[in-house]
Amino acid sequence: MKVLLKKWRIAIAALLITGVLGAVFPEAGREALKLLGVNISTIIGILVPVFILLGLFDVWVPRERIAPHLGEASGIRGIVLAVLLGASSAGPLYVAFPVAEVMLRKGTSLRNIFIFLGSWSSMRLPMVLFEIQSVGPVFALSRFAASLAGILLMGVLLERLLGLEVRQEILERFEK
């Protein structure tokens, strides 16, 4: 019960704020209620399949086993794999850090790690489907393309800037 209350406290606070504001400004309150109804029904309708897709991806795509194919000599194929791995993942970015760490230890190059992280953060496929539903395909797909370009660029740049030293440093950090 306590845990439940803690989880929902932000929502409860939001409900109180909305309720008070709606009571003070009844016209805005009615408008807000209308908006809320429309938003909830569309969003829940989309979220159910999206979350099932996320769960399936997470269970079927073995990240650690692919890591060795993402090494220094993996070239374009490695880059493509890193993008796909990130895009087919589930969960917020901070879940990706430990996964990336394991991949790094199993031989993934620093460049592909950054590409993986970038793709995880902004190109997750179920999320993009959801984005298309919410803000439309032009917005979603152009953002997707621009993000991809940036992620590849950043991966290459970061590796150039940091090099092998940092890789060693990161690995040592985890051996402690």
Binding site: A14, L35, V59, V135, V138, S142, V166
Partner: protein, 161 residues
């Protein structure tokens, strides 16, 4: 579009169940977990966005983060995006409502991009894995690139819509 999503999910779910009922069960459990986890922040955001949009005249939204707000609006959007921790499932509906009520396309794209790629709140965690040098570089680059993404999306929407 939604029916296609349901169809694709249904087919994949069927294939997965045929291949391994156990894994499928695990996937469904994960889906349920994510859903339950996302519900409180989603509810809160929807409530707050609905009432703010209802209260704030479109003129105010437009002057802060509208098309005309220009670079100032983008900076504002990027700061909000970098500092807050919102899942995409919350951010996109929010962006949709704001776009319908006067927010600019570039500003929303900058907001979404920084939200996803730049994490001030998660920086200490990131640094504990990769060190501060990597963390600062990655977040810094992602921050600046977000403005490029904003421009690209703005351009695409201008051309195709």
């Amino acid at each position: 579009m939604t029916w296609f999503l349901y169809l694709a999910t249904g087919v994949l779910l069927g294939v997965s169940a045929a291949a391994s009922p156990e894994k499928t069960k695990k996937a469904l459990k994960k889906a349920l977990n994510t859903f339950v986890n996302i519900l409180p922040p989603l509810t809160a955001t929807l409530l707050l966005v609905s009432i703010s949009v209802a209260l704030l005249p479109e003129k105010v939204i437009a002057s802060l983060i509208g098309e005309e707000s220009g670079f100032f609006g983008q900076i504002l959007a990027s700061l909000i995006g970098s500092l807050t921790l919102l899942p995409g499932f919350v951010a996109f509906p929010m962006a949709k409502v704001l776009l319908e009520h006067g927010a600019g396309v570039a500003q929303m794209a900058v907001f979404v991009s920084t939200l996803m790629m730049v994490g001030v709140a998660t920086a200490p965690l990131e640094a504990s894995f990769f060190g501060w040098k990597v963390t600062l570089l990655r977040n810094g680059m992602a921050y600046f690139w977000s403005f490029g993404i904003g421009y690209a999306v703005w351009l695409a929407v201008r051309i195709w819509i």
